[in-house]
């Protein structure tokens, strides 16, 4: 019951459940950006890099490295969902309702509430703090990411409207698995859509993400039509390259076919994002078994090969980029030598 109430408050335009705000983000669109990570996503991608963003509800996690073992959280929990033993703190997810009492009491911030209520005014005030940096960058602005920010579409639409009023470029980072009206609501206030396209094959898509890609493709067509009639927003496609799921030449060629055939030149950038295994800890903290736990980083050579497949299959090969951490020390990206790419706190956008 409590959860439903929480959710109901989140579909309005006054407050949103926000997972994190990352300032000086360099990986979520052009220029320097402040990225707001909204909670909640309709897909269940097996490789998800931000499992804490999937549920629309607040959740708590225990950060072992910060814990001083005082047991305050155990006493603080009104539902008896937190227990301690010699090995650490255990959260009974079937009892926990995400009220955050443990996180509020924890002296060491080892109990962390994922998903905080932010009012519109407070969020706008927060993102304008970096105006001097953002507006000095080429195309910089604000990115709504997640989760899928469209789960909280009414808020995001109004948030984007306010951001543009402040002179900021807006980018929507979505997996596209959402009712079309939500998308329609946000599109008029959006300058760039970062659209995830993972697998071309519907059955494979269902197998790896829990859902077929038909709704996603439908929304993609909607974005294309919107662009055709309004000459904006810009559209970037992002494809996570996941071992054993999306990392085949066939898949990349088929996605290229979608980009060429269906999107008809509307795409200005196609990014292939190498699988990242840095989220192992996140799964452990949330008490979720992760099938990619032992998966290794991809080879730079494979990424380069897939990028070449992509380049060969589209009319404008210059739209293709690849990025992300790869096995070994050096990874080649965009034809340049580079050090392994830094992990940002949240690696959303591609996955």
């Amino acid at each position: 019951m409590k959860r439903l109430q929480n959710l109901n408050t989140n579909i309005g335009t006054t407050t949103a459940t926000v997972l994190n705000i990352q300032r000086m983000s360099t990986e979520d669109g052009p220029g320097l950006r402040t990225t707001v990570f909204f909670k909640g996503c309709g897909l269940r991608c097996a490789w998800c890099h931000n499992p804490e963003s999937i549920s629309p509800y607040p959740e708590v996690q225990w950060l072992e490295a910060r814990c001083i073992g005082c047991g305050t959280c155990v006493k603080a929990c009104p539902l008896g969902a937190v227990a301690a033993d010699g090995r650490g703190i255990h959260i009974d997810r079937s009892l926990c309702d995400g009220c955050g009492a443990c996180a509020r009491e924890c002296p060491a911030t080892a109990m962390e509430l994922l998903g905080e209520e932010w009012s519109m005014d407070r969020l706008v005030a927060e993102v304008v703090k970096d105006r001097s940096y953002i507006l000095n960058s080429d195309g910089g602005g604000i990115t709504a990411s997640g989760g899928d920010p469209l789960v909280q579409a009414p808020f995001v639409a109004e948030f984007f409207r306010r951001c543009r009023e402040e002179g900021f470029h807006t980018a929507l980072d979505t997996c596209g698995f959402i009712g079309t009206p939500s998308l329609e609501r946000v599109m008029p206030h959006t300058d760039l859509v970062l659209f995830d396209l993972k697998l071309s094959d519907g059955a494979g898509h269902k197998l790896h993400t829990g859902h077929s890609n038909s709704k996603i493709l439908e929304n993609l067509v909607h974005v294309r039509d919107y662009i055709e009639s309004h000459e904006r927003p810009e559209l970037w496609i992002r494809t996570p390259v996941i071992p054993g799921a999306t990392d085949t030449e066939e898949n990349i060629a088929a996605l290229a076919h979608v980009i060429e055939g269906l999107l008809n030149g509307a795409v200005s950038r196609w990014e292939l994002c190498a699988f990242n295994n840095l989220c192992r800890d996140k799964y452990r903290r949330l008490g979720i078994e992760w099938e990619y736990r032992d998966a290794q980083l991809l080879d730079a050579a494979l990424m380069e090969r897939l990028a070449n497949v992509a380049r060969d299959s589209v009319t404008r090969p210059e739209i293709v980029r690849w990025s992300g951490a790869t096995a070994g020390e050096q990874a080649a990206g965009d034809g340049q030598r580079e050090k392994k790419t830094a992990a940002t706190h949240l690696v959303k956008g591609c996955g």
Binding site: L32, T109, D130, S132, N136, Q336, A342
Partner: protein, 836 residues
């Protein structure tokens, strides 16, 4: 053969000619060199003679146990100099001017390394202080004993207040004048001043001072003559025609400069070097902070003339690279100290590049770029240290070059200075010190930086930029106890705890305070005490230097000294300041925020409980310590409420600082923020602090947030720093345009980024936006580090492979492998924190 391969690429020098490659390699062979520039001590031959002036080292706590040893050893080793028969009839400044000239010209050998294009090699001296028996005894009375300067300085440091002492270097001499007027012009000017004196003045102190300065002004001429004949001798023996020609040209150059005005680029660089190195000889100080000012501006006319006269651009750079090698030989002073040939950290013979000119015009020129190429090709090397001045109208071409260089090094091979905020500080200084006629809206853009980032005017300004280093945090401790040390000082020899006494004002029993305001008021009173105490300590050494350690040669290069016939050490310069560098700012703000949060706002504990936890060094108070560290607000997160307290702390201590002048020399105190390495060492001296820091953990560095506190990333960090310095005036009426600055000296700010941020042109563009945003929002100076933690860990494991890995700490460069393990760990922790 080393079995461990070099895992990470360290910036290597590139494009060096065989000449420069040889000189550079030879330089880095350190103690194995046949030639070096180690201190040589010289004596008048009296039994009471002194060479080593400990006062210059009062700001270096590492030397405290050895002050007497250095003094005695230098005296033991000193070689006698035959004195002029009239020597002892002269005044002290005349004796000293004569003695230093005599040693430099007639005793120290002149040498030239193979291929070198700039003459002027040995200059590190420990010359006799030239005291009479009475003078030596009078000075010793002021230094030694319970009430002496040394005991006061030790007390101040051991009790965690910081340190202070009248230190050499740290100014920008009027080098441009030596190039344009030549020493002949300077000498004529001194003569004119001398002749203008009345009869009695001429016989008195003023006459003595000007005579001493005239003697000093002939030193560059006489030394150049020696080097000219050396070049001729070498030319005769030289078999390679091209080198023979170079040597002949060098001799011709030295026949002219530095006595005559320079006529071309080679002469200008030659003149500049001899003029500069003799400052270090005169002060017996191997260079720290003796800075060049706007090198690309005042050398530019010579560069232009020579280029248009047919000088090959690369040859111009070759001359500069020789100059670079020379600047590094300053380190030879202590070549046998430490593990890296005595080369541990930058001495800060700083120069500025680019920056604003009249009407906000950008002053970048062709020489700016040539100098950047020299830096790029020579790096990693420590001296001279570059500082690039940026502002809103800096051209993208320069910014792109700067960022390219940052991306190919482990960090910026230079500091970045920000003109708008810096000039706001200088304008604030003009008003606060009543020197509006000397620092004006029309000349403020001609400011330049000393040492690392300490802003001053040029050629007429001594601001003692490292002379006072005050731990602001001590006032928080004294507010808890009503003016006593919280924990006793342990004598490091005997291990015995000292007595706790009422040192500061009795501000009452903190456990009885009912409101935050009461605690704040106690803190205010203790801060006033702290500043006053620092001023008193400084006076103790300032008056000694003023009376006993004149530097007549340096005085000739600082405007005001000739006009007033007063030595630079006695208040001669037109602009006379002493900078108090506020240390531990972030820790202090966080500590006050924690007291407010824990005791008054959230009532997590009582004042008595908090004080007990601090006495116990947080042992057994884990929960409270965790709340202090993790739940209390912190400076550095762009949290307006926390940053408001930072501004309040800043306003308080800077206002106190402006209240004082030195008694003996009339120098106005001014505020700045630089922590050199004190934030490391004094972390072991100062008691536990309410921000959760135990004794033994490092303090915050300069104006930086406490380590790990900047959880909202670099932009939030920079915004907090800008706010703490004053921000921008809402009504547009700032100190300079709408910019405000409480710190005329400027403040050191370091941010470490992961190299991946600069991995491609697109991302370099993003970083450029950060720099542009910093111009608008940030502080006065920024040191950018670009190192990832993995590389540093690798360097800890295999130091032999990473000898040249430079890292920057508080704007002072150091070779990573030459610094202590604790500091290495600290740098790694800092780096790992920023996942950007």
């Amino acid at each position: 053969m080393e079995s461990t391969a070099l895992k990470f690429q360290i910036k290597e020098p590139k494009g060096l000619s065989p000449r420069i490659a040889w000189l550079r390699d030879y330089y880095f062979s350190g103690v194995d060199r046949a030639w070096n520039n180690e201190f040589t001590p010289w004596t008048t031959g009296t039994p009471w003679d002194v060479q080593y002036d400990e006062i210059s080292f009062y700001i270096v706590p590492e030397t405290y146990p050895f002050l007497q040893t250095f003094r005695s050893s230098m005296h033991q080793l000193a070689r006698p100099v035959k004195l002029d028969p009239a020597f002892w009839s002269w005044t002290l400044q005349e004796r000293r001017a004569w003695f230093v000239r005599e040693v430099m010209v007639n005793h120290v050998p002149q040498e030239l390394l193979p291929g070198d294009l700039v003459a002027g090699s040995r200059f590190n001296l420990q010359a006799s202080r030239c005291w009479t028996k009475n003078e030596a005894a009078a000075r010793d009375r002021l230094i030694y004993g319970k009430k002496g300067a040394r005991a006061f300085m030790k007390w101040f440091h051991d009790h965690g207040y910081g340190n202070a002492g009248a230190t050499s270097g740290h100014l920008i001499p009027g080098y441009e004048r030596a190039l344009t007027a030549g020493w002949k012009g300077i000498h004529e000017d001194l003569k004119a001043h001398y002749e203008a004196l009345g009869e009695s003045d001429r016989k008195g102190e003023k006459g003595a001072q000007l005579r001493a300065m005239m003697t000093a002004a002939t030193m560059p001429r006489d030394l150049a003559a020696k080097y000219a004949s050396l070049c001729r001798r070498l030319a005769q023996k030289e078999i390679t025609p091209s080198r023979r020609e170079e040597l002949a040209q060098m001799a011709a150059n030295l026949d002219r400069v530095p006595w005559e005005p320079a006529t071309n680029f080679w002469e200008a660089v030659q003149s500049l070097w001899i003029t500069h190195m003799l400052v270090m000889s005169d002060e017996n100080y191997p260079g720290p902070g003796v800075s060049f000012g706007r090198l690309d501006q005042y050398l530019f006319p010579y560069w232009e003339r020579s280029i248009s006269g047919g000088m090959d651009r690369e040859f111009g750079k070759e001359i500069l690279k020789c100059f670079w090698i020379h600047a590094n030989t300053a380190y030879d002073a202590m070549i046998r100290v430490g593990g890296n040939q005595g080369i541990t950290a930058g001495f800060g013979q700083l120069f500025n590049l680019s920056g604003m000119g009249p009407g906000g015009r950008d002053m970048t020129n062709e020489l700016t770029y040539a100098l950047l190429e020299v830096i790029d090709e020579m790096t990693p090397i420590l001296e001279p240290k570059p500082n690039v001045r940026l502002h809103a109208n800096t051209p993208d071409k320069l910014l792109d070059k700067v960022i390219d260089m940052i991306s190919s090094s482990q960090g910026a091979p230079f500091l970045l200075n920000f003109d708008e905020r810096s000039m706001a500080g200088m304008m604030r200084e003009a008003g606060s010190a009543g020197v509006e006629s000397l620092i004006t809206a029309e000349n403020v853009y001609d400011y330049a930086s000393v040492g690392c980032l300490e802003n001053t005017m040029v050629g007429n300004d001594r601001s003692g930029t490292v002379d006072c280093n005050l731990n602001l945090l001590k006032a928080v401790e004294l507010a808890f106890t009503g003016g006593k040390d919280l924990v006793p000082v342990i004598d490091f020899m005997s291990g015995k705890p000292g007595k706790i006494t009422q040192d500061g004002p009795a501000t009452g029993d903190a456990t009885k305070f009912r409101t935050w305001e009461e605690f704040w008021n106690a803190y205010v009173i203790q801060t006033r005490f702290l500043v006053k105490k620092c001023v008193e300590l400084y006076e103790a050494s300032e008056r000694v230097r003023a009376e006993f350690s004149p530097t007549p040669y340096l005085s000739t290069l600082v405007k005001g000294c000739a006009q007033k016939a007063l030595d630079v050490t006695r208040g001669g310069p037109e602009l006379n300041f002493v900078t108090i560098e506020g240390v531990t700012f972030g820790t202090t703000v966080d500590s006050l925020l924690a007291v407010k949060y824990l005791v008054f706002d959230k009532k997590e504990c009582t004042m008595a409980q908090l004080i007990q936890a601090l006495r116990d060094n947080w042992q057994g108070h884990d929960v409270l310590q965790a709340k202090a560290k993790y739940r209390a607000p912190k400076y550095g997160r762009d949290d307006d409420e926390a940053d408001a307290l930072a501004t309040k702390v800043m306003d308080l201590w800077t206002a106190e600082t402006w209240k004082y002048r030195t008694i003996s020399t009339g120098r106005q105190f001014r505020p700045g923020m630089l922590s050199w390495n004190y934030w490391v060492g004094d972390g072991y001296v100062l008691a536990a602090s309410p921000d959760g820091r135990p004794k033994g953990q490092f303090l915050s560095n300069a104006i930086c947030p406490s380590n790990g506190a900047d959880t909202n990333g670099p932009t939030a960090n920079a915004n907090s720093v800008g706010k703490a310095m004053g921000g921008r005036a809402a009504d547009g009426k700032g100190d300079w345009k709408d910019y405000l600055s409480s710190l005329p000296n400027g403040a050191s700010h370091t941010i470490t980024f992961n190299p991946s941020l600069l991995r491609d042109p697109e991302h370099r563009g993003k970083f450029k936006a950060f720099i542009k945003g910093y111009i608008a929002n940030g502080g006065s100076a920024l040191q950018v580090n670009m190192i990832d933690a993995d590389m540093l860990r690798e360097a800890q494991k295999h130091p032999q492979n990473y000898r040249h890995l430079l890292v920057r700490i508080t704007g002072y460069n150091a070779y990573f492998t030459s610094i202590g393990r604790e500091l290495q760990d600290e740098i790694i922790a800092r780096e790992s924190h920023n996942k950007y």
